[in-house]
Symmetry: C2
Subunit: 454 residues, 2 copies
């Protein structure tokens, strides 16, 4: 029989794991871009509820998951840990490959793990409306789902070009009761300013963030939510790794290598942080972040303070970045087109605890197709980056004659990305040239800015 490891509902982790409790060196704190000083709590309180700000800076190792959040988690969690037996056979490897399948959530990815929690804490703080931005719609749909469960309104600023080209995720958000606004919009000053200079602006994630934050700042009953990068977001995702750890224990396994794709870093953090707990204590386990060649934040970026958005509205975060004004080519893995990385992931990479590797678009679809044709599940293009690394690590281990245990996060399904697979199958999928010059320029501008600030 196939090895699918099911954790009983009663065994679902009751606490999130806060890696900050175990770091010998904490990430440098966020800075206020206007003053260059630490960001004041009042500024954050304008858009986040106190509970999440507390979690952002907490040094408690274990943070209880509220009962109300657990109840909703339990409608699809614990997610299965699956041994990819057919994939192993196809690869002809002696390694044992396991994946944690997060595509079974109603939104089809790991994003609801934090969306549900954020909606809960905002509800508890008396908030009536949430705003956020979304590109392809993966995060926006998770937030609409979370808000719906707690009876909060959700307004999602969706990059206009995606709004027009990808109606399905918009329909999904609306079906869950969300309000979806193509960005730039006339709702906000930021949006109006853009439209004045460019009435046909296709929008960008940066503009959408600006609009969502502006709306949250301007209304007392409204807060803003972010789907990755921040400490509390990564915290909520640790449910993935905590479950995986219990599941591997159930079958007497422990991973030699853990692999996740890395855009902002939340799904990689989610699966790996509970194992990094062991690694800090001396256990031998490799963690690999996979990213696209065309947005090589960890592999080619610099470790410095940068804005979280392109419009320079957010606090400055110390992170690996290719510069906030770098716009990556339009690869299908939209979720990996972020210019920076979570401060916690960045710190761990800088400390050598996490490794990173970058891949081209066609090679990740080659890898994904091998997985699909053996396992049946269609991965999101983002998650396919992890699969490419799995194949490479298996080959390496086989060459060295080692039987490794590899765990990867299949962070979401690709049912809304089938046009990408169609492009691959019909031979029209292309690799983009590594935009070396543009990244150099963007980093140079950032370093100049940072120098001026000091």
């Amino acid at each position: 029989m196939r090895a699918k490891v099911i954790l009983p509902d009663s065994e679902i982790p009751k606490m999130w794991y806060n890696i900050q409790a175990d770091l010998t060196k904490l990430p440098d704190p966020p800075l206020d871009p206007e003053t260059g000083e630490l960001v004041k709590a009042e500024k954050l309180l304008a858009i986040f509820p106190p509970f999440l700000i507390e979690q952002e800076v907490s040094l408690e190792r274990w943070i209880p998951i509220p009962e109300e959040v657990l109840k909703i988690y339990l409608s699809w969690r614990p997610t299965p840990l699956i041994r990819a037996v057919n994939f192993e056979t196809l690869l002809n490897t002696k390694c044992r490959i396991y994946y944690k399948y997060e595509g079974l959530s109603p939104a089809g990815s790991h994003k609801p793990n934090t969306a549900i929690a954020q909606a809960y804490y905002n509800k508890k703080a008396g908030i009536k409306r949430l705003t956020t931005e979304t590109g392809a719609g993966q995060w926006g749909s998770a937030l609409c789902l979370g808000a719906m469960f707690f009876g909060i309104e959700a307004t999602v600023y969706m990059v206009r070009v995606s709004y027009n080209q990808k109606p399905y995720r918009r329909f999904l958000m609306e079906t869950w009761g969300g309000k979806v606004i193509p960005s730039p919009s006339r709702n906000t000053a930021s949006g109006r300013a853009i439209l004045e200079s460019d009435p046909d602006s296709p929008g960008s994630l940066g503009i959408a963030i600006s609009e969502a934050i502006e709306e949250a700042i301007s209304r007392d009953d409204t807060n803003y939510c972010l789907g990755s990068v921040l400490n509390h977001v990564l915290l909520h995702q640790t449910i993935i790794g905590l479950e995986a750890k219990k599941q591997m224990e159930m079958i007497g396994e422990y991973p030699d290598i853990i692999i996740g794709c890395c855009g902002g870093g939340s799904n990689l953090a989610g699966i790996s942080f509970p194992f990094i707990f062991d690694k800090i204590a001396g256990r031998n386990v490799r963690i690999i972040a996979t990213e696209p060649t065309v947005c090589p934040t960890l592999t080619k970026g610099v470790y410095t303070y940068d804005f979280g958005d392109t419009s320079m509205l957010t606090p400055l975060l110390k992170m690996y970045t290719v510069g906030h004004d770098f716009i990556p080519p339009g690869i299908y893995a939209g979720g990996l087109r972020y210019h920076g990385d979570a401060p916690l992931v960045s710190l761990l990479y800088n400390e050598g605890i996490i490794e990173a590797v970058a891949y081209q678009q066609t090679e990740i679809f080659d890898a994904s197709m091998k997985f699909i044709r053996s396992e049946g599940i269609i991965p999101a293009p983002e998650s396919s980056h992890a699969i490419k690394a799995v194949i490479d690590e298996c080959r390496l281990a086989d060459e060295e004659g080692k039987e490794k245990v590899i765990l990867f996060n299949l962070s979401g399904h690709g049912l809304f990305d089938l046009s990408a697979y169609d492009a691959y199958l019909s031979g029209t999928l292309e690799d983009f040239i590594y935009p070396e010059e543009k990244i150099k320029e963007s980093i140079a501008r950032l370093e100049y800015l940072n120098k001026c600030r000091q």
Copy 2:
């Protein structure tokens, strides 16, 4: 905590339940339309493998599920039985509502339960290629998945208008390695004949069936597969009800009412037949089939011999039918637009063991939206027909002061049907007038045909 009942992998049923073993009256046998006699085995052997023909007529109560099929089932089965706590709260009902969620299969519906089995038996019979037809693509994608697992080619004739309008399910089939051909095509004599008289023919399920069967008959290495209606298809789906029965037993529950939508009848049969086993033995349980008002096979059809396809190629089946040449209006629940019903479901309805009810399109979307906004999962429009009946039965029970246990089959997710939800939300979803005259005419033509045959 939310009541989600997980059956351990080790407890997955190892045998399908064959209801034919327990019927006091068997369904009337299929007839050869040319001779009016019983269909000869040779004719069936031209398109089906011997194992499936044996299952079609078997009187054994329990039929072992092959190990190879079980292995694949186990990659997503047993599916969860979920208590719809939030939905109960929204309905303010004292009834307990449970649903079996079949949308977690890689193809997103219950269809792979039989597709995997059919691919396996065909592989065992040395078959290299499978053909089938598909409308919206739900069944076609399941068969491509099944064929892929056993290394068989799958060719799917897809109704041309769907091929053009619904590319996503086509991409899904192709991603799993299937060959998708818009029908009518130039591949077959049937297709060419249609194209000659109407080069712009949008196609129909009837034409697609004709092409798929023609290709299967004309090639020794090729067989044909059907996604519903036949006894062996319903047999394979009983895994749903067998699991549900064990799961309800685990929590000390037994359903008073079981509800499933009914197109050809396979998902209704799947969830209900194992409970009808008890009903035949005297246990009190109601089974309700739900269908669309515009294709009211059970509620307004006649119980007589009819063709399975519109082109009159298949054997004659004794079933409830609105006539093989009736073309229902284009409701979003494409899977319920079939003119007939499985002979086994028809017999049970005729004997009063199964009840039936028909609904209009807007009321099923009203019902579905209530479910979505409380439970988060987006049901396929087909499955939403079951949800409407759940709501009605709860209201009735509450009025009578009874606390009923209701079990329904959430046969598939609606992620490929989001444009239907968009139409609903934007107020453009319409009800079609019950096509009373057309159905009367179609039935009259059928009865005339049958009279001539006698």
